[in-house]
Symmetry: C2
Subunit: 353 residues, 2 copies
């Protein structure tokens, strides 16, 4: 029989020192902390119409996700062979680092999973601070590319949690300089003005683009995908678990894509509300919001910890980023009603704070 | 711009030599190749009743899967803290090998993913042939435990594809001898007579039990789980992606568990049909079936490749294991009607062959 200490000795050291990713549920009436779409864009009745899936729960999913891949491919003008489906983009990041290893370079602050998954898989992570405008420090990154030859570079653009798109010319410079794969994570692209990098895939074979359905109303499903050169897709596909995307998510995502209008309506609503939120936040004393091309806004205050608690008392949950960026908070753009509740709560909290 | 060869040079050598797991869809009218349950046990109408999930598609899943974990815990008499949920057992195998590393020991022939995932993650795999009765070669395994100290040992019992349970005393001997974690994969346990190893968890802290909902009618959902000491669950949970199980699978699995009768009915039907299939196969000239405690039967024939093709011509898809076990095939227990079609097709194919 093993003693208590023995199990943790079996765990690889890079995991032992890792903390579990916290995604706690915090009770609230207005949830604006997770960059989800503000409403469910697909009427339940449309899903229910697809009895075929529900009556074949006993069958394994299509391991290739052919129908969904083909619909995604069509919607962005590439071939299915350029697409890898993931159980969320998270899983694709896991697979990329599994397949290529490190070093893994990414700017900070950014989406935390690039660093977490690097540590999980024992790959060296190289975090590079953004410049004072939250843009890429090209000089520093290119010098690291030369010296440390990162296998993977993750660039979230629009960047979470800063909200801005990185300059296209800086991204292109990095892609051109890198001998490793540059992954432009376009999770928030639907809310941005820029064209994104899909059109650069033909020119740069070491470019990969990540997209997700999580921000446009389908976070429940866990559907992310990578668009890249066939050769990269083929190699990363080798480490993919064969049935990584369940049948129902495949079917519901497919239905969502069939009716483009529902996603378009949601993204337009969000963009409109984002402008309004931006204007209101800018007008508040003691609040400095940053321009955003995503479905959230980063803003700075005098005392983020205090405001966070005050807002929560009023049932409004947003993200407190203090610790990552001093006195910064991130609010997801909600419905008009949710945003009004947030603004009212923020005004009242600022007075008390 | 990169040349064609450059991408594959970026891929880790253990992945480069890996072949993608093939899970091709082969058209057929009777599908008895994948050890799925023969029918969907949950009436579609029950799923549709859960409008709550369908109307919150925009929200991320519960990252802890609290409701499902609690229902599973209750059904097997452990605490939720002893359970880790996976997007299928495959994902848990991935996480175990990520967290502990190799060497990874498993008997062969067995479920192929232990070896595939070991290679994917660059962990040394130690395959140990089963003895002539398809039971564990305890002498050999214990000598390897002493010399190579495997971090993980995977024992699928009932074993896929042989169908038998390994002797309990041999499994216990291995658990007692190992300083690493011994994972008893009980995917097929619902169809077995033996009690399984959940009751041994209290005594052996280095034991982990894998279970799945895939074989009892819910393969579409991808719900697998590990039951083990809290400390092991806590460590492996660190490498789990926070939203690995989508909302709909959580909700539908929960509904399936609420009505135990539906799963019980399915497993009883399968056991009854398995006896009938066994009797019929035993009576056929040129067919040697092996006793099974799973939802499939392994059998040997004179020419598996030829028979496989003949059966497929008649629309019946089973698993050809030739290459893994000479002239062996594996048929999943289907509905009475499906099994009749299979038996008729097999008789006719044997005549032609």
């Amino acid at each position: 029989m093993m003693k208590k200490a023995d199990i943790s000795k079996l765990i690889r050291p890079n995991i032992r020192s890792l903390k579990a990713y916290e995604a706690k549920e915090i009770p609230c009436r207005v949830k604006l902390d997770a960059n989800e779409g503000p409403y469910s864009p697909l009427p339940a009745v449309k899903i229910l119409a697809d009895k075929a899936i529900l009556s074949s729960l006993n069958r394994y999913p299509d391991p290739e996700g052919k129908a969904l891949k083909s619909a995604l491919a069509k919607s962005i003008g590439v071939s299915s062979r350029n697409i890898l489906l993931g159980n969320g983009s998270d899983e694709i990041i896991y697979y990329l680092i599994s397949a290529l290893g490190g070093p893994v370079l990414f700017p900070v602050p950014t989406f935390v999973m690039y660093g977490v998954i690097s540590q999980t898989l024992g790959a060296k992570a190289i975090p590079v601070p953004l410049d004072k405008d939250f843009d890429l420090d090209t000089g520093k990154i290119i010098s690291i590319i030369k010296n440390q030859k990162p296998k993977l570079i993750f660039l979230s653009s629009p960047n979470n949690p800063t909200g801005n798109c990185f300059s296209s010319d800086r991204i292109l410079k990095i892609i051109a300089a890198s001998k490793g794969i540059v992954v432009v994570d376009e999770a928030y692209h639907p809310f941005a003005c820029s064209r994104g990098f899909l059109s650069s895939l033909k020119k740069y074979r070491n470019l990969a683009v990540l997209r997700t359905m999580s921000k446009v109303g389908f976070a429940a499903l866990r559907v992310g995908y990578m668009v890249a050169a066939e050769e990269l897709i083929r190699e990363v596909n080798k480490v993919r678990l064969p049935y990584n995307l369940n049948s129902i998510s495949q079917a519901v995502a497919l239905q969502g894509l069939k009716d483009k209008k529902i996603i378009n309506a949601l993204t337009k609503d969000v963009a409109k509300e984002r402008s309004r939120l931006m204007k209101e936040l800018s007008a508040m004393d003691g609040v400095t919001p940053y321009p955003s091309e995503a479905n959230f806004i980063l803003f700075r205050v005098g005392d983020a910890d205090g405001l966070y608690r005050e807002l929560l008392k009023q049932g409004v949950l947003i993200k407190n980023l203090n610790g990552m960026i001093t006195n910064a908070m991130r609010v997801t753009v909600g419905t008009r009603r949710e945003n009004d509740i947030f603004l009212k709560a923020l005004r009242s909290a600022l007075k008390k704070n």
